[in-house]
Amino acid sequence: MDFEVINTTTSDELLKAIAANQNSNFRIGAGFTDLINQLKKQNTEELTIINIAQLKDEAYTQIVEEADGLRIGTLATASDIVDNNFIRENYPVLHQAASKLACTQIRNVATLGGNICNVSPSGDMTASLIALKATCHIVDCNGGERAELLSDFIIGLKKTTLKKNEIIKNITIPMNDHHNIISGYEKVGSRKSMEIAIVSLGYHIQMNNDGTITDAGVSCGAVAPTIPFATSACDFLLGKDIQDLTEADKEEFANKVMEYASPISDVRASEWYRKEVLFNLSQTIFS
């Protein structure tokens, strides 16, 4: 492994480095937990890494509560997310996804932006953020900014809408309308620890004081080329009273989640098994 590194410590240096490398082969490096394993397998002689691990800009590093939601810098690590009390209380789906990612040593360096931009169907933090209807805030090297729903940002296996002159700065999650929530992240692997998901299910459902479901977000990991947001399953729940959900309703919900699954068979699990697990997980979230 041999490559050049441009170290950036301010956003100004970062944008300049991106601008200066538009005609060369470069990659952004944050926590490097995906990158190093990838770079070891390829020829890196002509490659430049723009290192953002030492970037000090708070817009990229901090987790901030704002009036209309939560803003999380791209460089927040899985450990930063696990340790954040606001996230633990308001967005259990994200807390659980981050704490089920790999192990302490990886969580201490693995960043949120790296998880999103690695665009794996089994990216745990990414899957939870899709259920939370998160928005990506993207800057380009000329200082331009745009915002895009995370579920639109990811367009296929290993594909996003990110252009060569752009980088993710942070993401925002809308504030909960109600305190009454059912929120969690189920991850099934072939063992409990250090396992990439065979299937995962992220859900974040809000009810008003009467128990009527007012908002729902459900995402399915590792069962399709992208991490789908299960729109029809969410729509099915809206307006229903959580206490009145029948077994038939739960089954119909699970069937609607299944519409989004087009899993493959691979060494870790068969297509059939992945579908069974997703169906069963979907039914159990209300019990």
């Binding site: 590194v5 030492q54 790999a102 040593q105 990886i106 201490n108 360096v109």
Partner: protein, 157 residues
């Protein structure tokens, strides 16, 4: 080459390193500290765990240049003249948590970082939490029970 300045086991040093150099190679090959072990070199086994600014990390998944300005502690940095073994190491000895020893430095460094954090917060973790704290460390010999006993005993007075 890039210049980095950092603390290793209490001592401040400056080094010229190749930008692609991994922290594990800086520690083992440049600084000749061989206690940090290369196992899988893919982030799976934890044998290469060291502490950077109080947090356990895998040194095989970390660029050396990114310790610039930081404090690194390896297994050689635990203990001193008066107390040659850290409390975590003593518990590993007492509970028979070491067989071939290859995983031991990683187990000790992970437990050291975790127990220091727990102590700072004034909490005593449950056995389940102690187990979870070691989920990134593999051992081919012991079957884990004795290592977990040792890691739990760190919280006894």
């Amino acid at each position: 080459m890039m210049q980095i300045t950092f603390k290793i086991n209490g001592e401040s040093i400056t080094q010229e390193v190749k930008p692609a150099l991994l922290l594990i190679d800086l520690i083992r090959d440049h600084l000749k500290l061989k206690g940090t072990k290369p196992g899988c070199l893919e982030g799976e086994c934890g044998a290469c765990s060291v502490i950077v600014d109080g947090e356990a990390i895998n040194s095989c998944m970390y660029l050396a240049i990114n310790v610039n300005g930081k404090e690194v502690i390896t297994i050689e940095g635990l203990g001193d003249h008066e107390n040659p073994l850290d409390n975590v190491q003593e518990k590993m000895v007492e509970h028979g948590g070491v067989q071939c020893g290859f995983c031991t430095p990683g187990m000790v460094m992970t437990t050291k970082a975790y127990s220091d954090k727990c102590k700072k917060k004034g909490i005593t973790p449950t056995r389940e939490e102690v187990k979870k704290s070691l989920e990134g460390n593999l051992c081919r010999c012991t079957g884990y029970a004795k290592i977990i006993d040792a890691a739990e005993a760190v919280y006894e007075n």
